[in-house]
Symmetry: C2
Subunit: 200 residues, 2 copies
């Protein structure tokens, strides 16, 4: 295919993960999402659940949260904070993966980490808050917080994480070659567009 690697960044509740799965299946390449978390966990020694959260979300809405992260253990993390050490190892695992095989990588700032590769197609999948609110209730059920608040919290934490580690604005069109509204276009149409561009 024209692009060996496809990164799929996605808003929570947009169906971006499902789009990524369909793209990987249609192209016959592996998808790295949960498996990426496990690889980073193995490489760092952190628990998968810690990696899952910290590799995409700031602890609070503010980037200041990083200033209060636990200090690293000298000799293992070289004095870095745990989130900074995680970032370094996450970057290494993603760069290695991209070097080794054609694949789809979901989230984890892979668009930024692989931005200098011309064989990498960066995709952003997003949808309106109302579409995403309905979808998360359908998929994950109700919770104490209304779905709009859950979305706003997740969005703010992802935005803060992206800003902190990349210096960029999460969701700006310029970060991606393709940005698609899954709420209006639908999962299948988004998949078709990405597969068609990836095949060239």
């Amino acid at each position: 295919m024209s692009f060996r690697i496809i990164t799929v960044s996605r808003e929570f509740g947009s169906g971006g993960h499902t789009v990524a799965e369909h793209v990987a299946s249609r192209l016959g390449v592996p998808i790295y999402d949960k498996d990426l978390v496990l690889r980073i966990a193995k490489e760092t020694g952190f628990a998968p659940q810690y990696v899952e959260e910290e590799s995409e979300y700031a602890r609070s809405k503010s980037v200041w949260s990083y200033a209060f992260a636990a200090p690293g253990v000298p000799g293992i993390m070289g004095g870095m904070t745990a989130p900074d050490y995680l970032w370094v190892m996450q970057r290494k695992v993603i760069l290695d993966l991209a070097e080794k095989e054609e694949c789809v990588i979901v989230g984890r700032c892979a668009d930024f980490i692989l931005r200098d590769r011309t064989d990498c197609l960066n995709v952003f999948v997003h949808a309106s808050p109302s579409f995403r609110a309905s979808r998360i209730v359908e998929l994950y059920g109700e919770s104490e917080d209304p779905p709009e608040k859950r979305l706003a919290d997740k969005d703010a934490k992802r935005r803060a994480h992206y800003r902190h580690f990349t210096g960029g604005v999460w969701g700006m069109s310029d970060n991606y070659q393709l940005s698609l509204d899954s709420g209006v276009l639908g999962i299948d149409r988004c998949t078709d567009i990405i597969v068609s561009v990836a095949r060239g």
Copy 2:
């Protein structure tokens, strides 16, 4: 087609205008760009060149420039500043156009003005600064300022104008159903994707 109206917002030098022309031609619908300027000029009494500049660009990089705009003539502009009066009339012309006929509308915040229409497909065409710098030199020749500065100035003025009149961030994926990197995908591929989505 599935979408009656297509708005094409574009970064200066991205080739977005050419993409819009090709899309209109393939769909057999009129394109409103220069003609939109003339309609707004006729409606407001402003010179077309004034409309061309003020309908998309802030006068300086700062939104504060609007605070110093010439005050409106009571009875004609109802005490509004000239840029505010232009915005009101620009909005009216675009809403009327969308009501009347299938078409492609280039720029002028039409994505925001028509955001509540479900028959409107909002597209953003962008490209890397290096791609755009080469393209503007090829198309418009060299000038006193280096192309990177010309791009940065235009981008900043469009961003300030969009922020002032819509409250949003120009170029954020969420504003559009499709955002496409014309530098990587190419003019033809961008056209194909938009036409295919527009036809449904």
